[in-house]
Symmetry: C2
Subunit: 251 residues, 2 copies
């Protein structure tokens, strides 16, 4: 049965997260309903990053298998966009290699978190930027960030206990001062446990405002204690930016 | 009587424009109500750019005179932001020089217009970017833009007849390909007549998509005929970026 790949973007503000939940408006629910309208039968999808309520995506990847193999891919893309409306954009529809699964084939995920340190928020970007309204010691935050790089048990930064292990490999954690715009935090890992990016950003924020001691970073990491991190950054500043696959995932 | 300057930003989506209108929700109405709540009496304001319904601002300037001269400016800023909510941000409150008037003292206005040419819109920026969903010939648009620079009678680009004259001096009209983001059009002039930026952007869009002939630019400009420009770009892509004064306008 042919496998298809969808590249999608969404404004998470109006959704109870990506994953389908009975009685709630979710991205998966809207997407599968739209797919079911345009294709025959029930369409079950797999997703690279099950983003939480309020979290956005600009490079989310979804896959599904379907026994029809003769439909016009760009026509399906336009049809989905027509049904879904402005909060969800289907950027591309493509035929994937056999066995491609958006979740299990992914080798890395990359997230962007935006922080506005200026006194008053920018009204145009307020929906996807966390306005903290105070200066942060970005240099100290960057030093602490370096300690988190590499393979660790990130239990201190997982808001719920992962099914198997909380060991993850963090390949990038970079803080960039915005050029007239918000401060950017970029995080890339093979995978993230629940609320891991937001817990890391919350911790870095506590470092940057002088609430947490940067000297404690190794003990915070080693504790594997979810109570070790006081602040979880709010969801609306977070955007799933991109997902990587060893192969392009296209047939 | 001391004169005060407010630097403000707003998301124009939810307002019937800047200028106060009876029974409608406007930026000026919200702002003057908030000023009246925090200061004594009725506060009448002057504004640099009377933006239309749906147009945004990141560098709007407002002035008002008030006989109290001992209030804490940053406290007033925070107080206004507390009342106004997230759609309007007061970026700064300052004491201006005697006789400063946000509208009549202004020597130039600068606007940014954002155009998304990609097939599917970015859901996060859809509120302040015009999604045209097609490639545009930016080089041809730039050539035409150069013909509009300088002092001209811009009657062809004024949606209503100006009180006095439709002669304006256009100092900048630049098109920049977005680096992964939307295409930017930057326009700066001593002043703009009604819907002039949106008419210029609409005309450039018609040039860029091959609907209007770039060879006609001089005759379109010379005609001073409001019917000469077919397309007026929608308001939500437009943002008042900055306003210039010969003097800083601060006491």
């Amino acid at each position: 049965m042919p496998t298809y790949r969808l590249d999608i973007a969404y404004d998470g503000s109006g959704f109870s997260g990506y994953a389908r939940q009975s009685g709630l408006r979710t991205v998966q629910g809207e997407l599968e309903t739209a797919l079911g309208t345009l294709l025959s039968g029930t369409v079950a999808t797999s997703v690279a990053g099950r983003t939480d309520a309020g979290v956005h995506a600009l490079g989310q990847v979804v896959s599904f298998a379907h026994d029809v193999d003769d439909f016009d891919l760009d026509r399906l893309r336009r049809g989905l966009n027509g049904i879904l409306g402005p909060e969800i954009s289907v950027l591309g529809v493509s035929l994937a290699t056999d066995g491609f699964d958006a979740r299990f084939s992914a080798t890395w995920r990359r997230y962007r978190y935006l922080i506005d340190t200026s006194p008053a928020p920018n009204p145009l970007t307020r929906g996807h930027v966390w306005h903290v309204g105070r200066a942060l010691a970005l240099d100290v935050m960057s030093e602490v960030a370096e300690h988190l790089l590499g393979e660790h048990d990130f239990g201190s930064f997982c808001r719920s206990v992962p099914e198997k292990s909380s060991v993850r490999r963090l390949d990038e954690l970079a803080i960039r001062e915005g050029d007239g715009g918000p401060t950017e935090v970029w995080a890339q890992a093979n995978a993230f446990c629940h609320q891991m990016v937001r817990s890391i950003v919350g911790y870095l924020y506590d470092i940057g405002r002088g609430f947490s001691d940067p000297a404690d970073v190794e003990s915070v990491l080693a504790s594997r204690d979810r109570g070790a991190v006081a602040t979880v950054a709010p969801p609306h500043g977070l955007t799933l930016w991109a997902v990587g696959y060893d192969e392009v995932g296209l047939a």
